[in-house]
């Protein structure tokens, strides 16, 4: 799954959850920064109890994080996966 697709998929799912603000993530996507949108949504899943990443997306998040070369992206994906009770990323 591409970064664009994963960002849009997460956005569409999270936008329906009450108490979740996806406006910044939407702007990031609309201006060509889907990777930033993803890590901001994943960070929200750690800090905002109202936000739940659907279990169906965990494999895609792991696969995406695994391919990221930028450290911040890998770290955020790893933390979000572990926070949700799933295995984190393999070491780089």
């Amino acid at each position: 799954m591409t970064t664009d697709t994963l960002a849009t998929t997460l956005l569409n799912d999270l936008a329906t959850q009450p108490g979740v603000d996806v406006s910044d993530a939407r702007t990031h996507i609309e201006y060509g920064e889907p990777g930033v949108a993803i890590i901001r949504m994943l960070s929200q899943s750690i800090t905002n109890a109202s936000l739940t990443i659907p279990a169906a997306h965990m494999d895609a998040i792991r696969a995406w994080g695994q391919t990221c070369r930028r450290n911040v992206y890998r770290t955020t994906a790893d933390r979000a996966l572990r926070h949700a009770g799933y295995p984190g990323l393999n070491p780089a």
Binding site: T5, V36, R69
Partner: protein
């Protein structure tokens, strides 16, 4: 939501002899894990801006980015473009201004800003534009993960298949 055509690979080439920091062809001559700011900016109070993030902002990578006009103009995509003749020097100047304005509003030093995204109106090289700066943390400390233009003089975006300037809002002019 429609997804734009991937134009991440529409690069502008590498560093060539005689190209200075103000050239849109200039690439910061540092490794991915080293910080760089344009030489005309005092960066002692600023977060790190790593070589990998400069590549992301200027040329783009598999997570997005690529906001040089040359990259965006290669074909319809979702990216916004900094003004046509801008390179790392002016983009860095805009980011530094936004960081300092935002830090002043929050009463902290720019290098102490938390993980967040913020947008500010800046005036650089005679152009007024609103840019977004995204900050995060990595082992090197607070770092810029991206910066991109939202609207303003010389800021362009593909709208209905035409690369068009995105005007400032009336209260920003």
């Amino acid at each position: 939501m429609a997804s734009g055509r991937d134009c991440h690979d529409a690069g502008v080439g590498g560093l060539a002899p005689g190209i200075d920091e103000f050239s849109p062809l200039f690439m910061p001559p540092v490794a991915d894990d080293d910080s760089w700011w344009p030489s005309h900016i005092d960066s002692t109070d600023l977060p790190v801006f790593l070589g990998a993030e400069w590549k992301h902002v200027l040329l783009g990578d598999d997570t997005g980015g690529g906001h040089l006009w040359t990259v965006v103009s290669a074909g319809p995509c979702l990216k916004s473009a900094f003004p046509r003749h801008w390179g790392a020097a002016l983009i860095g100047e805009a980011a530094a201004l936004a960081l300092r304005q935002h830090a002043l509003q929050r009463g902290v030093l720019p290098a102490e800003l938390p993980t967040e995204d913020f947008s500010h109106l800046v005036v650089v090289a005679g152009r007024r534009l609103v840019i977004t700066v995204s900050l995060d943390h990595d082992p090197s400390g607070r770092c810029i993960i991206t910066t991109y233009p939202l609207r303003g003089q010389g800021v362009e975006k593909w709208i209905n298949g035409i690369l068009s300037e995105v005007p400032l809002r009336p209260d920003e002019t």
